[in-house]
């Protein structure tokens, strides 16, 4: 199965576990839970990496990330 656990994500991307959980709570990333372990599928990783960059490098908070994602989605729809 192509997926990465939350703990591995936190370690590899050097992020706070709370930030990961906030992304999940806000619906910005989708995870699956199996045997009490939270996993992120590889096909969601690119999106997750962007959120990490925007948050840690550009200091954008969770509500800001939500707005950005919605607007980018709208741009994409309009461009189709």
């Amino acid at each position: 199965m192509e997926r990465i656990s939350r703990e591995e994500c936190v370690r590899v991307y050097k992020i706070d576990r709370a930030f990961f959980d906030d992304l999940v709570d806000s619906g910005l990333i989708e995870t699956v839970i199996e045997e009490n372990t939270v996993y992120l599928h590889y096909d969601k990783l690119a999106h997750f990496e962007k959120l990490v960059t925007w948050h840690y490098d550009l200091e954008i908070n969770i509500p800001g990330l939500e707005v950005i994602c919605q607007l980018l989605e709208r741009i994409e729809q309009l461009q189709r």
């Binding site: 690119a46 925007w54 550009l58 994409e76």
Partner: protein, 302 residues
């Protein structure tokens, strides 16, 4: 290349502290980051410029050089070093020789040595700093194919931003399917990784079939006699013609399922949808006297 005032670019004063520079940089990065300005070349250029300004001004060593030499900060130190060497050399030959020199000689010398501003390598600034490293821009491309193209796996070459890319189009690729080619996007910034290439498939139905998920649907005309008495019917499928056995008394609108003659299922080897054939019974348009008589006989038998 015109001189870029890094302070002006970041909108800070020459006395701004490190924190102010960082703050101004982040504010502009939020505005011009390529992720947030998809397909905007101007924003990308601006983002590169503010990154460069931040790299120089957030490093005390390069900032000091920039403050000291301004436009010539990139080769200012080398200029000073050469000037010292020349002074020493001139001293050994006597003052008169030195006075005959011209400062513009140095400019020519350094121009050829460093290739001017444009030839300067910013490589040293790309290294070492963890911050300011950004992944390159993701590129989104659409690959338009016909439905018959995705019945089997095949190779396809296409061009994105002048670069030829050869990919394997999997059997069963469907309209709107997006695949990611990691590292095929734009160059990274400040040593960051390359962006990714996202290909969205646009599939045009060039077949007489109606698509319903993995299933295909089509109508087949059936003459009255075969519908009543049963028989054989040849129908076309995307994989060639096949003969179907028609049951006696097949009603108009009856749908039969032809297994595995639909679309291939994406990423599931040897798995296919079905072909659904709906029979449309066609009545004769004219009858001979004898046929008419026989139909009347049939009617009277009811």
């Amino acid at each position: 290349m015109p001189f870029t005032d890094y302070y002006e670019l970041l909108g800070v004063s020459k006395t701004a502290g490190t924190e102010d520079i960082k703050k101004a940089y982040r504010k502009l990065a939020r505005k011009y980051h390529p992720d947030l300005n998809p397909n905007d070349k101007e924003a990308e250029k601006k983002f590169k410029a503010i990154n460069e300004a931040n790299e120089v001004l957030s490093n005390p060593e390069t900032r000091t050089k920039y403050d000291k030499y301004g436009e010539n900060w990139k080769n200012g130190e080398a200029y000073e070093e050469a000037q010292r060497t020349r002074q020493q050399s001139a001293g050994s030959r006597g003052k008169s020789t030195y006075s005959g020199g011209n400062a513009s000689d140095y400019s020519d010398f350094f121009g050829s040595m460093f290739g001017g501003d444009e030839g300067f390598d910013f490589g040293s600034y790309r290294q070492g700093r963890a911050g300011g490293k950004f992944k390159g821009q993701d590129i989104h491309a659409t690959l338009n194919l016909s439905l018959t193209d995705v019945l089997t796996e095949h190779k396809q070459t296409f061009e994105v931003n002048g670069k030829k890319i050869r990919i394997t189009v999997p059997a069963g690729a469907y309209d709107g399917l997006q695949i990611k080619l990691a590292g095929y996007g734009g160059e990274g910034y400040n040593g960051g990784p390359k962006g990714d290439l996202y290909i969205t498939f646009g599939i045009t139905n060039n077949t007489p079939y109606q698509v319903s998920g993995h299933d295909l649907k089509a109508d087949a005309e059936l003459d009255l006699y075969t519908a009543i008495l049963g028989g054989q019917k040849t129908v076309s499928t995307p994989y060639g013609d096949i003969r179907l056995t028609v049951n006696p008394l097949t009603q108009n609108g009856t749908t039969v399922r032809v297994k595995d003659k639909g679309l291939p299922v994406y990423k599931e080897k040897d798995k296919y949808g079905n072909l659904l054939i709906t029979y449309k019974v066609r009545l004769p348009e004219s009858l001979t006297d004898e046929q008419k008589k026989l139909f009347e006989q049939l009617k009277n038998m009811q």
